[in-house]
Amino acid sequence: MATSRKVTLLSSDGESFEVEQSVAVESITIKDSIEEGSAGNPIPVPKVNSKILAKVIEYCKKHVESAKAEDRVDDEDLVAWDADFVKVDQATLFDLIRAANFLNIKSLLDLTCQTVADMIKGKTPEEKRKTFTIRNDFTPEEEEEVRRENQWAFE
């Protein structure tokens, strides 16, 4: 049966992870390469190191299991689990975003992006620059002008 097949994923730093195929294909990228037959075994996952890959696999496993359970009550538990899952340092969070984007796992991408969006809320521009290391290339006058223009543009 296809669902009990296992595949091996190889992280960028050379570590192997054996997972069920049903979990691996949460990633559209992996799913496509399996279907095209172009994936070797093990499937190399460049750009994603073992620490992040382990977390991604943990996420996919949990979501595949929840989908199998028919009880909708698990939805709340899953939301709570997701909230805990993203309680990581910013570097890990950003790495998860890149991994989710590269591996094309929409739900993980949405979850992590929402987390970053929540970090953006409620901060002044200066605080945002600090948190996200954005270089300020405005002169004070330019910045004031942008602020004023935005007021009507985004009312």
Binding site: A91, A117, R129, T133, N136, F154
Partner: protein
């Protein structure tokens, strides 16, 4: 243990579509704030096709097809603004107010349209449908679309009524161009607050212009709707008065000395009168039905359907008041105490009786007969169910506003003031009945799981 250091990737290093994904979770004011951080983000945050599309998609992408609105040419910032307003339409509304007493209404022998209306998302529009009980003796419900609200590529509302409901489901073939070839009537939809809606025929386009298709031009100064009152609604605050007022003003000043005025103004007046008389559709007012569904603290609240005394399917609305009472009315009946319209049932204290129930109560319940649909095909005559549905809780109710003696109210089960009962079932639905007869009327959710059709 790695020391804490500056992250190797930063927000600016993300690919643009990831940045947009993140920004799509923010509200416009938050985005305005964010765009002040650096020049590259100003450009990104102002990009309509990218950012505003992402915002629309995030909020409504699962409910409607963002790229189809306005023939796919609309400015997404405008779309965001409009959909934020129109979102409050979604749900159930009921018609309110008296029909106008114009000659047209009196002359038409058609029955008034059903009082219950539901608004849904379409692929590139919002559709309003009348909801009426199906007449086939089942719990089925009929949904007839009659109002279609969409946007032109320029972002202006394009609203139509299909008076006879012949259109059936509003399909993708309804577009601005096809309007001229059908019997659709242009209307204005005006919001008064979030819970009151007025839908009126748009006479300003000219009663006959629908045959020539749309004459909307981008210069909105010429485009005014012929409304009775300046409602200042969302639909076109174009900054000039309706044509009718302007021409009347001119006529007033122009004709000060000559009573009849010139022949030209007489002709114009006549045309105005004709246009007024050619109103093909009466204005309708709607009030939003908030609280359409039960909640854990208000388990009987919401819109229900049930087979009543006359074995016809009817719609009921159960509302809770601020002091813990409940009232149930048929949808469409006026709610105020002085209307002369009694509620179907009511109680001033919505406290349930929990099991175990007294012998008396059980006998009273078991001996009753459920009013159920007369289903011709699977006739249940002679095969009545042995037992009624198991009851989880009981509530005492009344059916009239007769004077209550305060001390007697809510004392014992045999208190004759409590003329009836509600029996709540395991699945959350309930039945009600009165001591004066032997029936149970079961009420079911009108839209279980959000899906209207049974």
């Amino acid at each position: 243990m790695e020391p804490d250091f500056v992250p190797t990737t930063s927000f600016v290093d993300f690919p643009e579509d990831v940045q947009l994904c993140i920004l799509s979770f923010l509200t416009p004011p938050e985005i305005a704030n964010f765009s002040c951080t650096s020049k590259r983000f100003v450009a990104l945050c102002r990009s309509d096709a990218k950012l505003w599309h992402a915002l629309c998609d995030r909020r409504w992408g699962s409910k409607t097809q963002i790229r189809k609105w306005g023939d796919g040419k609309i400015c997404y910032r405008l779309l965001y603004k409009t959909l934020s307003e129109w979102e409050s339409l979604i749900g159930f509304w009921r018609r309110s107010g008296q029909r106008s007493t114009s000659a047209a209404a009196a002359a038409s022998a058609a029955p008034p349209p059903p009082p219950l209306v539901v608004f849904d998302w379409g692929p590139s529009f919002v559709a309003g449908s009348r909801v009426s009980p199906s007449q086939d003796g089942t719990y089925g419900v009929v949904k007839s679309p009659f109002l279609w609200m969409s946007l032109s590529p320029g972002g202006e509302p394009v609203n139509f009524v299909d008076p006879d409901g012949k259109g059936g489901e509003f399909g993708a073939n309804y577009s601005v161009d096809s309007i001229g070839k059908t019997d659709l009537i242009p209307v204005d939809v005006n919001f008064m607050g979030c819970t009151h809606l007025v839908v009126e025929e748009n006479m300003g386009l000219g009663g006959n212009s629908h045959r020539n298709g749309f004459r909307r031009s981008s210069s909105s100064a010429n485009l005014c709707s012929d409304e009775e009152e300046a409602s200042g609604g969302e639909n076109g605050t174009f900054g000039s008065l309706p044509d009718r007022y302007m021409s009347e003003m001119y006529q007033h000043f122009a004709n000060r000395t000559s009573p009849g005025g010139s022949s030209a103004s007489r002709r114009q007046k006549k045309r105005e009168k004709e246009r007024q008389g050619k109103r093909r559709w009466e204005p309708e007012h709607f009030v939003k039905i908030v609280d359409c569904s039960p909640t854990p603290s208000r388990p009987l609240q919401g819109l229900w359907k049930g087979i009543g005394d006359c074995t016809k399917l009817e719609f009921y609305l159960v509302t809770y008041d601020e002091i813990g009472g409940i009232a149930c009315r048929r949808v469409g009946e006026p709610a105020d105490r002085f209307s002369g319209c009694a509620p179907v049932f009511w109680t001033s204290k919505a406290t349930f009786i929990e099991p175990p129930f007294s012998q008396e109560e059980m006998i009273m319940y078991d001996s009753r007969m459920l009013l159920h649909p007369i289903d011709e095909e699977n006739s249940m005559f002679g095969e009545l169910p042995m037992e009624n549905e198991p009851v989880t809780r009981i509530l005492y109710i009344n059916s009239s506003y007769d004077l209550l003696i305060p001390d007697l109210a809510g004392t014992t089960a045999t208190d004759r003031r409590n003329e009836g009962r509600i029996w709540q079932y395991r699945d959350g639905t309930f039945g009600f009945g009165f001591l004066r007869d032997n029936f149970i009327i079961d009420l079911k959710h009108i839209a279980p799981n959000g899906c209207l059709l049974h």
